[in-house]
Subunit: 351 residues, 2 copies
DNA sequence: CACAGTCTGTGTATCGTTACACAAATGGGC
DNA sequence: GCCCATTTGTGTAACGATACACAGACTGTG
């Protein structure tokens, strides 16, 4: 560590001795000030200041009390990405809001994608977990369950005994794809990763069931529903997979498929970021939207509104807050209030 | 809490009894598996699984070991804002990266702006603190110092015994303002909040020294330097203050000052977000950039590049990583390697 | 065959607090 | 002036784990 602590941290007992009171009196001074007379309190505070006592040791306190005062967030993706994915960030803002209101810390569990992630979960000193969208086979899920702490899953996969917060992705996907595919002859999907391997690339005849990220899977199914409802064959729909939710990656991937004879005339993207990356590539290729290319996004971010992007509106921040509340035992369980979404039609599609 | 734990969490002693070994053997099985023979290890693991033992209690472990396995981040602003300010988010990504590499959690201390914030710091179970830019008088600073834990301050204010990571804000402000003010007659500043009160509004004859956020103060000073070097009088420079680093707020504030006879012909903003909000307002007012209005930002985000904004480039993510490393005692102290910045000239100014 | 050097398993004390039960001091009502 | 109720201070026993020192069972060496 950077700072060499010249003296070891004083203990409560030392403060007690210095103030000539019992340890319990010191404890009460911090935990229940009203329990102690004003004079004694002053004596204790003074002794504490003199010794440089920073207050009860958080670890010891939480061991004894049985609560840590922090909520854990487990991100299904490497921690590094968490702050780079705007959707995750919005979600975290909601969790953070509730934490702040309760005076709780927000501990982000360091997921790296390695097998030791489960240990990281087991070692996290928290009072409960919020799990951000992950894959069916993510090893952190059993670890969260084993902890015995209250936990809520966002997005999926659904777990026994864990409340679940998500919109009906399949239905929303159907709705947005209906708008995108209305006049389409060569439809395409711009997708989140299918599984933890996150292999990017363009796929033909992709079976949605093969995607182990439930959110990706359900959206693919919804897109298929819409295309088939329009009389098309799913096997004709190509799926371009991005490893991460990044406009930049979408842009470079789109550049590869927007030229050539079989370039799509309609693309449904799984996020506004991906859609906007695509639109940048389209603009560079001299394509007009929606004339040459219909595009839809997902999330209704500010940027989507500015770009006139047809999209699905969902309030990720509110969902984050909801997850946190459920973990804290506030509010009712999942089923009672389904999470809302809305189709927002703009100029990137023509109906 | 949402989940009613049917059984209390099993303890190590119970596992030991079930596996017919000593408690220490169980402890070693988890902490130093090599210390235990393969058979015994199997016995213990099996007993643990049978009882649903989730592994050593993190609180107890950290009390005994003296380390918590988590790094604390203190944001000088209410926790709610943390994930909404793109700059803070980029910084956090850097901190998170280092944490993940070390298998450390990242605990965000719940700052709300109330006096109890200091207690929240004292109660945080972490091994060290990273303090994000705050004001001179922020009560969390003494609390961090009192904790005796290693700590690093980003941006400011500089603290005794705490390494400090920041660019030379004043020099950078001088450089960017020189570009903005080159042909200006009615210069203006679009500023971060001056102090914890975060009072928004337009100020005349503002003394930079009055700003208690060091970053704000230094940048104001740099802007003043540049204007005075160009032969102007600082008292003629108006300062528009935003409460938060938000494009939306900047846009609405700018709308009020871009019309009228004394509208500015050059504005230096303290962030790209603020600058972009201003540019949106300018576009709506029919003003051309840089013709009618020279604009500069700060941070060189993707959006700034896309908008052709002259700005200061600094790598906040790298700075976050650097802070985390310093807290962990990796790398040398602040002075040795000054943090870099660069003026990026684009089309929003004309030289 | 004796002896040093591993490898494994085991008690004990302790990390720094707080819950709980109890005792002493204080105050008020009649 | 007595008694009950409140206020205030105090010991003791956990909370659940790990550091440490030690003991017995092995191994291999000369």
């Amino acid at each position: 560590m950077a700072k060499d602590p010249s003296r070891p941290r004083p203990t409560m007992a030392e403060v007690a001795r210095a103030a000539k009171v019992s340890v319990m009196t010191v404890s009460y001074t911090y935990a229940q000030p009203d329990r102690v007379s004003e004079q004694t309190r002053a004596k204790v505070r003074q002794a504490a200041t003199r010794l440089g006592y920073p207050g009860p040791h958080p670890g010891a306190r939480s061991l004894r009390r049985g609560r840590t005062g922090s909520l854990g967030v487990v991100l299904g993706e490497p921690l590094t990405y968490a702050f780079e994915d705007p959707q995750a960030t919005r979600f975290l803002a909601g969790v953070a809001e509730v934490c702040a209101r309760h005076g709780l810390g927000l501990t982000i569990v360091p997921i790296t994608g390695s097998p030791s992630d489960a240990d990281r979960v087991a070692e996290a000193a928290v009072d409960g977990f919020v799990v951000w969208t992950t894959s069916d086979d993510d090893p952190v899920l059993p670890a969260v369950a084993a902890s015995g702490l209250p936990a809520v899953v966002h997005g999926g996969p659904r777990q026994q005994d864990m409340p679940f917060v998500a919109i009906d992705d399949r239905a929303a996907a159907r709705a947005v794809a209906a708008a995108a595919f209305a006049h389409a002859r060569r439809p395409m999907v711009l997708s989140f990763p299918l599984d933890r391997a996150r292999t990017p690339g363009i796929r033909n005849e992709l079976d949605p069931a093969k995607a182990t990220f439930p959110v990706t899977r359900q959206r693919l199914r919804g897109f298929r529903d819409a295309w088939e409802a329009a009389g098309g064959r799913w096997s004709h729909v190509r799926v371009a997979v991005c490893a991460r939710n990044s406009a930049r990656e979408a842009e470079s991937l789109a550049t590869t498929f927007l030229s050539g004879p079989d370039a799509p005339d309609a693309v449904v993207a799984m996020s506004d970021e991906l859609a906007l990356g695509l639109m940048r590539a389209a603009a560079r290729a001299g394509l007009t939207v929606p004339g040459d290319l219909a595009v839809t996004g997902w999330d209704d971010t500010d940027a989507a509104a500015a770009a006139g992007l047809t999209t699905i509106a969902q309030d990720l921040r509110a969902q984050g807050a909801r997850c946190a509340q459920l973990v804290l035992g506030e509010g009712t369980d999942d089923e009672t209030r389904p999470t809302e979404w809305q189709l927002v039609l703009r100029d990137s599609t023509s109906l």
